[in-house]
Symmetry: C2
Subunit: 490 residues, 2 copies
């Protein structure tokens, strides 16, 4: 499974540590940056390790949405009231059932302050709303809906848009990491790149006191006087680990910076850490939300399975876990034309046809499958209703010839919006069990002394559902808390 | 999470062991019985521990199907040729993708000999075939199809029925455990009941040398000179563990003897063991296969999602993981009447109606949902085709008024076929990572010395799919191998 052991090394076996700090943060994505910044702000001296040659992590590849609410200045400027309670209720519904209620509560209550922390470090958010379903606004708008007003979530909590998108020309993750990187540099936190953590070092009582890393082919040891924070990311790049724990994700293209090998999780497990919800994952698919919401999303039997106005990540999740990614967006010419060029992400139909029967045959669906679905959709749409899935009336209109379809497994074709070569791309959401302060728990549910974690190395808030913005959001928020805790102040 | 620690105890802390044996087998279900029998047959002296007041485990509650093939005498008597290769290919398809190929190969090649072992210990199989989809034959027939001839499995391997059902008046699991229990008694293997294993005992090198159990409120220690075999079952009874690892199963009624608390898995994990595929599970639902196959299985949108002639466990799995168990069997009067009384399991329709529109409204489906599906089904069935899901022509016929529907979440009402109070009932399939000889692997993929496991405490052969008969089958087969290995002969 691993080329070298992931088991902890006994402290007695380390004659002399090469480096020493109060807090050693492992992995320089958004969670690592946040942990390092707040550990240092808490008075600890910190060193930040990164396996690759530069920081950024998967965060730098992301759209740059951060899920924030409770009445942020951006929400207020766009005319939305919000409360921590509504945010909490929405997250429990959207990330659950069985979301981590304690973390969701902490995150929702801490959100306003966390917004200020981000802005204080220089993270830019524009005070304008993108008002249509999207993965990321194709403009520089700073606020977006994450399905809060869609069925069934509108009934769970008073809807307010909470997707805060870091201002950027395209994907915002790179801007977030640039800003946090500047903050790390300004704070004078040493960053050791090309340094991959291999094993933890534990003392006779099981306390984590350091780690062994690999740099330029040789072992380098770090002593952590107060604590280690693992922010090493998920395990999407480790095919064996994916097959072992998240088989539905196996064999699919991966969304990561290439460093999500799961070793941070495994080396903590080998030191006694428990994990949670390891089968969880998310998928980005070639689905233009502006097209999907004006048309239908169907499976290989031509059957709809979701209201197309939810956050598109939920469509991706249903497509992956329930429909084997054999999913198409079906729309008509009018719907396609209504989507502004900027919002099309370069996606053009993979199939076009004058009749639904022809389209169905061209895709290879059973005779009558799509015809039946479109007829039913149209019959109800005529009167502005969607009794099947409750898409909002705003988006309902009978579909008329000519028709088109987009296969969600095929790649997008607008490289300016990030690397989208792969069509469907997955990442993992399961990981280490941690407290709200990032303490890593063992199989008794007891914190392992000296060991903390945040970001995708942990299982964080999600259970069955996932909403974008919670990765950068919980990575930075719980990263900060882990940094403070590792510094010994909690 | 646990009332008392699951962490291993250092051997140095145990002054004197209360009991001692070459091999200590923990858990007296089918895997434990098989492990104990073959460990002893290999020359080891053995003690068998059981947490409850009597052996049996979940095996005793089961239908009594054992998946066996490669040309058993029962298959031959019923006129079927079979080969280990075909069995292997079927299992790879039905338990996968990503089934444990090494275990499937070993199991398929060992199947003929394993049949002889079972029969040699007195397990009865009648040489007659039940030739219609079923959970368990309602007669005493000894051979049944497990979907081998259904789409898409018929294309994966030459079909032969491989469900070998222990002869019984009703469910066969109790007979299997009675016979194995007699064998254990005859072999003179001591059984310590009311003895729940709590923690492993490890020496300074990490070798497992014993365990601490709890009996009548006090600790009892066991030394294992050669090895410990954990056959402690799954974790379906542990709500916290289910929520942590298999959230889709959370909150549902459980199929177990009440002893599947997962402690065996957790105490091995705390001693460094790795796990696999912990989110996997299976569900038994109130679905009479004879009715389903003559009608349609639909979700809450009235949409079919599977060919109804597969093994019903696969319908249950799709219903649970993809359709939230909001699933109905829809059939007409003729179909219902065609199902012999003995095959009805006491199930009567929960809804009846003269028209599909009425049935649809009564169930609460969207207007047009079921009407559309039945019309499509009938249109194709008229010409003996099912282009949507490829159900065999034998079962295709247009459905005609009057109509009926059965809600799969409601309980069956024939207690003579086992305890069926709960409607849908789940169990877990994930567990410890083991080799084909039952050695428990650590996070480096290296066997933990002295520790073996089999049955539902392990993740065994399954990945995404599950077929009944592989629980009793792999439990007994890999239980035997673990017993032999623990005895030191492999």
């Amino acid at each position: 499974m691993w080329k070298s052991s992931v088991k902890p090394v006994a402290a007695a076996e380390v004659r002399e540590f090469d480096h020493e700090a109060d807090v050693v943060v492992v992995g320089y994505g958004c969670a690592g940056a946040a942990a390092a910044l707040d550990a240092q702000a808490s008075g600890a001296d910190v060193v930040l390790l990164e396996r690759l040659s530069a920081g950024g992590g998967s965060a730098a590849l992301s759209g740059g949405e951060i899920y924030l609410g409770g009445g942020t200045p951006v929400q207020q400027a766009c005319g939305f009231d919000d409360s921590a309670d509504d945010m909490e209720q929405f997250l429990l519904a959207a990330l659950g059932p069985d979301a981590d209620a304690e973390k969701v509560a902490a995150y929702s209550r801490g959100s306003r302050e966390h917004f200020d922390w981000l802005v204080g470090h220089g993270v830019p958010f524009k005070e304008s709303l993108w008002d249509s379903p999207t993965w990321v606004p194709p403009t520089d708008d700073g606020l977006m809906w994450m399905g809060e007003a869609a069925h069934p979530f509108a009934a769970a909590a008073a809807p307010a848009p909470r997707g805060h998108r870091v201002t950027s020309d395209g994907f915002g993750g790179k801007v977030l990491m640039q800003v946090l990187g500047e903050a790390v540099a300004k704070a004078g936190i040493p960053v050791h790149t090309d340094t991959g953590a291999q094993r933890l070092v534990t003392d006779v009582d099981g306390r984590v006191v350091g780690l062994v890393a690999r740099r330029e082919g040789r072992d380098v040891t770090y002593r952590a006087r107060r604590g280690i924070v693992l922010t090493t990311g998920g395990f999407a790049d480790n095919a064996a680990m994916v097959a072992t724990h998240a088989p539905v994700l196996a064999g699919l293209p991966v969304n990561s910076d290439g460093g999500d090998d799961g070793r941070g999780i495994a080396m903590a497990q080998a030191a006694g850490a428990a994990v949670r919800n390891m089968a969880a994952g998310q998928v980005g698919i070639t689905l233009v939300p502006g097209m999907a919401v004006r048309g239908m999303v169907v499976d290989e039997r031509g059957q709809r399975f979701i209201n197309e106005d939810v956050y598109p990540g939920l469509i991706g999740q249903a497509a992956l876990f329930k429909h084997g990614l054999r999913v198409w967006v079906v729309l008509d010419e009018q719907a396609y034309e209504e989507v502004p060029e900027v919002e099309r992400w370069g996606v053009r139909p993979h199939h076009v046809a004058e009749t639904v029967a022809e389209l169905e045959a061209e895709i290879g669906m059973p005779d009558g499958a799509l015809q039946t679905s479109v007829a039913e959709y149209n019959r109800h749409a005529e009167r502005g209703a969607d009794p099947y899935f409750h898409k909002a009336e705003r988006w309902l209109r009978p579909l008329r010839a000519p028709f088109a379809a987009i296969d969600v497994r095929r790649g997008m074709s607008a490289p300016e919006y990030g690397d989208t070569g792969g069509g469907a791309e997955v990442f993992t959401l399961g990981g280490l069990r941690t407290t709200t302060d990032g303490a890593v728990l063992d199989h008794d549910g007891v914190a392992i002394p000296g060991l903390y974690a945040a970001g995708r190395a942990t299982s964080s808030m999600h259970a069955r559902g996932y909403i974008s913005g919670t990765s950068l959001g919980d990575g930075t928020y719980f990263g900060r808390r882990a940094g403070v805790a590792a510094a010994g102040l909690r």
